[in-house]
């Protein structure tokens, strides 16, 4: 278990401020979903939390220690990250790719030694097993479908065996079945190993269903934090996304289910739009 916190965190690219004086804590052993409109700074926050981006002010701590003051490799044994656009080298096999997740655990001179190789092999096996990719182990990653590939990348992050795992939109480009599968997998991981997970997710309803804790962001700051049932209200959705909605209880899980209200195909549009037809 490990606690990841941000205090007074300001993140910027060149002169453009994206996250401003933000403070939060990712609850230990829970699944946290970070939601918000496009360009609200949620992915940037994840980059800041995972040390991909150096804060221009404020601090990110892991168990009380500044993550930028710790050796990178040591940190990578506790804090894992799956960014949005990882690159799979051509002709790399699933097993090889997952094996690269072991990097932070392998010393410079130990990479060839056979002594602790079995331990690394076992970690890779566990990751393949947990993501149901064991039967793909010998295949080339470029031959896989999008859903399989995403599971392989998650397996690589799992092989890192960290206490905290940050995922940036892990379900993008996946069909609904695969989205559910990936989120189920992450939940399994959280429940079985107590891994602290933070995910940037676009789909609010899936976020509501799978989150223990929700962080809602708007223009670089946090506008709501807490359990899904408290965060996903019609007011907050209106504020964060500028979208009118009806929030009902998900009949399957009891979590909030957000029903968007657009201008069309809703029985009672709340803002009737007057259309003028030229005659």
């Amino acid at each position: 278990m490990a606690q990841l916190s941000a205090r007074g965190l300001t993140l910027q690219y060149e002169q453009r401020r994206v996250v401003e004086r933000l403070s939060t804590t990712i609850p230990e052993g829970k699944v946290t979903m970070i939601v918000g409109a496009n360009a609200c700074g949620k992915s940037t926050l994840l980059r800041g939390l995972s040390r991909l981006l150096k804060p221009s002010a404020g601090v990110v701590t892991l168990d009380g220690k500044d993550i930028h003051s710790r050796p990178a490799r040591e940190l990578a044994r506790t804090l894992g990250l799956l960014p949005q656009h990882p690159i799979a080298p051509d002709c790399i096999t699933v097993r090889e790719l997952v094996g690269r997740g072991r990097y932070p655990h392998q010393g410079f001179f130990r990479s060839w030694r056979t002594g602790d190789q079995s331990e690394h092999d076992l970690a890779v096996e566990r990751a393949l097993e947990a993501t149901s990719t064991l039967e793909l182990a010998g295949r080339n990653v470029d031959e896989l479908s999008g859903g399989q590939r995403q599971r392989v990348w998650i397996a690589m992050a799992l092989a890192q065996e960290t206490d905290v795992l940050l995922l940036d939109e892990p379900t993008t480009y996946l069909d609904l079945a695969h989205q559910v599968e990936v989120l189920d997998l992450i939940t399994d991981l959280n429940r079985r190993r107590g891994t602290t997970v933070a995910i940037v997710l676009h789909d609010l309803n899936l976020a509501a269903r799978y989150a223990d804790h929700v962080i809602a962001m708007k223009s670089g700051t946090i506008v709501g934090e807490g359990p899904a049932s408290q965060i996903f209200t019609e007011d907050l959705v209106g504020d964060v996304f500028g979208l009118e909605s009806r929030v009902v209880a998900d009949p399957l899980s009891g979590t909030p289910l957000i029903l968007p209200i657009g201008r069309h195909h809703t029985a009672t549009p709340s803002t009737p739009v007057e259309l003028e037809f030229a005659s």
Partner: protein, 360 residues
Amino acid sequence: MTTRTTTARPLSRQATATRAKAGNDAGTGHRGNRAAWLVVAVVVLAVACAASLAIGARGMSLGTVWQALTAFNPDDGNHAVVHTRIPRTVLGLVAGAALGLAGAAMQGVSRNPLADPGIMGVNAGAALAVVTGIYLFGISGASGYIWLAFIGAGTAAVVVYLIAAMGREGATPVKLALAGAALSAGLYSLMNVILVSSQDTLDRFRFWQVGGIAGSDWSVILSGLPFLSAGALIVLGSARTLNGLALGDDVARGLGQNVALARGVTSLGIVLLCGSATALAGPIGFVGLVVPHAVRFFTGPDYRWILPFSMVLAPALLLASDVVGRVVLLPSEVPAGIMTAIVGAPVFVWLVRRGKGASL
């Protein structure tokens, strides 16, 4: 549908070790026993060395070569011919190994399958520095060229990196290649300004520029050796870092790598290798580009194998090119740098066309 069939199995907590290697190597092609292939590669290199000692305007039997090496008789004309070919062969070995390592490492650092000392501005920087040295200070000979080549190659590498690193996302492969190509064009045009204005410089430059390993002697090789060794050690030590970088900068950082430091250190090794190889043998193209690609067919994308394979097979290609160049237009010789392009270009086209294994 196709993907769901493999995912239906529920997660199990069973021990996994027993099934560890089941159905493992399907689709990995020739990768089963890389160590065995490396032995084959060393044999190929040995054959190329033997050919380089035996073949030329005056052909020798392998028996004569062996005698010349083990029981040298200074009165035997054949032995003397073999001995004149030794420095040339050794230079082919070290320059080829340096170019193979540098090419592979460059492709890894820039994550650019077309990276090559020629594309990244390093050769142009070395060449301009050498030409400037010849023109302004009348420097000649490889021991003088080597320092000029380092300065030029290093400066070019730093400038290319700084240009590419401007902007938010830093030195991406595409920006590196663009900056390298732009700087190369600029440096070569400056170089041409010097060359058209000085016939003497042009004459001396022409001999060096075509890339040849003929006419070399031990002092030249020895002057380059410390730099070549240092560069080779740095680059070979970067293998795991390059494996991380291959997954993208974000993943590499997530795995605990210092991406900027890794690029800097590996680039230093590349500059040492390219600078000394270029100073010793002139700019030799295609070896650094083609060999690492061919090698991936046997090794897959693991740099811990790509680098040693490239180090062994690049000198084999360079020596073979040099040998062919000696006999193809008798009685004159075609320099190795031209032969590598003639031999390398079709191989490269073939690699690109067959697709697999030909890119990163």
